[in-house]
Amino acid sequence: MSDRTKMGKTLAEKIWADHVVRSAEGEPDLLYIDLHLIHEVTSPQAFDGLRLAGRQVRRPDLTIATEDHNVPTLNIDKPIADPVSKLQVDTLRANCKEFGVRIHSLGDAEQGIVHVVGPQLGITQPGMTIVCGDSHTSTHGAFGALAFGIGTSEVEHVLATQTLPLIRPKTMAVNVTGKLKPGVTSKDIILAIIAQIGTGGGQGYVLEYRGDAIKALSMEGRMTICNMSIEAGARAGLIAPDETTFDYVKNKPHAPQGAEWDAAVAYWKTLQSDADAQFDKEITLDADALEPFVTWGTNPGQGLPLNANVPNPADIADAEERGAAERALTYMGLTAGTPLKSLKVDTVFLGSCTNGRIEDLRAAADVLKGKKIAPNTRMLVVPGSARVRLQAEGEGLDKVFIDFGAEWRNAGCSMCLGMNPDQLTVGERSASTSNRNFEGRQGKGGRTHLVSPLVAAATAIRGTLSSPADL
């Protein structure tokens, strides 16, 4: 973001400017952090650092913790069976107690994936700076907040100072024009964008998603898109707040009340990129032409429309990409030219901070209702939070999934990263609504195809990669 005094500002530049604590020539800006989200995996060493230096958490009232990455989704009323996992969760609980940080533990109605919990509590609001020791913090950008993942050293820095020294990123406008066809979702938009710009295309940028197809999305749909900005290499993704955003935040537990609500909305309405703002880069995607998308390889940029065939590496001009494609096909057990829709799937995973919200569960349940799961197929349904689980049960969705033959689990990151017992086995193929198809991501030797909740549901019915249109 270069300094342009006469031109208009982009949304990212406005939020940045509103949070600069200190700016000095030749140094990164010192940025104030409005909200710090914490979980068990990336925080223990940071709390240790505080203790060693005799430091306190500067703003416990701007900090919140939840247990998500390393918690079981079964038998949560019993002690965690794996002693190493138990120690990590116990360490978070002890640290939060010692430093006065609010925590939502396993069994609590507000426990869940940190990026699902923030929005549902209403502590994710437009115009904020939000960080967490998790790369999918970009999710909160859907509210027009500047939100990004940080490492453990930075977690410690935020705990101690409520600030971060940061180099200003460049800005990229991602224009998504037109209107999605039925059966095509925000997940397909982001998978198509990543396929278009590659896993490094967004490096050094904040992406601002714009255009009619973005405006038409619900908050859940917007979160799915911003969530996967990191898969395009961008630390943050943003969507300008509008009435859809305000309606979502309103009446959430931590939403502003009364006169503060009015003041907040007046400010939030200024959070738009100015008409004469200049982005460092612009790209466009046509939503009208978009089809359901699926990944075939081992990075999220290796995606194609579901109707396509497994690509032939020999057709790829770039030597580096060709080599990566060859390796990916070997790992994924795929042959060039095979129709993607002919691929037999062993496990379907519905969940994660990408697609584990109530709307995702409703969309999948709508496809599955009254049907039976394909033979030799298992389906895990893992709500993004305990609150989402309760809401789904209130709507009878749990019954739809169980009658279909799926497993109805408790909230957490689960098979998205395979840190808890929910893992693929060697050679097992999944259709997953999560965000990463890296080698071994869902379990050692597991083969992941990233899909939308609609494709996940249709795939569970047919047993091969499918969209609802194939039913």
Binding site: E27, S153, E231, H254, G323
Partner: protein
Amino acid sequence: MEKFITHTGTAIPLRRSNVDTDQIIPAVYLKRVTKSGFEDGLFAAWRNDPEFVLNKPEFQGASVLVAGADFGTGSSREHAVWALQNYGFKAVLSSRFADIFRGNSQKAGLLTVVLPQEQIEAIWEAVEADPKIQVTVDLEAKNVRYGSVTVPFAIDDYTRWRLMEGLDDIGLTLKNIDDVTAFEKKRPAFKPETLPVRS
């Protein structure tokens, strides 16, 4: 943080692009609550293959990792940096690093050097031809040297200064904590707080 001025050692050619942090250290190894002991998890899945470059006898003891483009993509886990350091790496060379990984490495004192892809390939060839060749990564002179070759690299002055002095960011920020306090006094009242708990 340990100061980094210059480092000389042997190098390992990792001829792969898009090496994500799940490959550098899989999630099942992230359960430790310390910053040490992660070397066993480094490239854990790939190390099962005896032909994997880290397993080759000629590359044992190397301290400079020379990797393909887009190194460190994916998860923000700083454990990836600790695993590389715990194993004995002092510097990683690539034509492109993921933003979060690069930030983490700079905080933890692992030097990440960006070189053009053709220079990375030249180093791969030199190291494969002679695994004992000494590679110097000189932060003071801002160059990489091996054999008769010297390749300059760019790094911003602030990061270079921090790494060379081994400075702790928190300590630097706390010198300006009055600015933080002043900023806090001006924050709008409508900004949310996590405490007291509301439901």
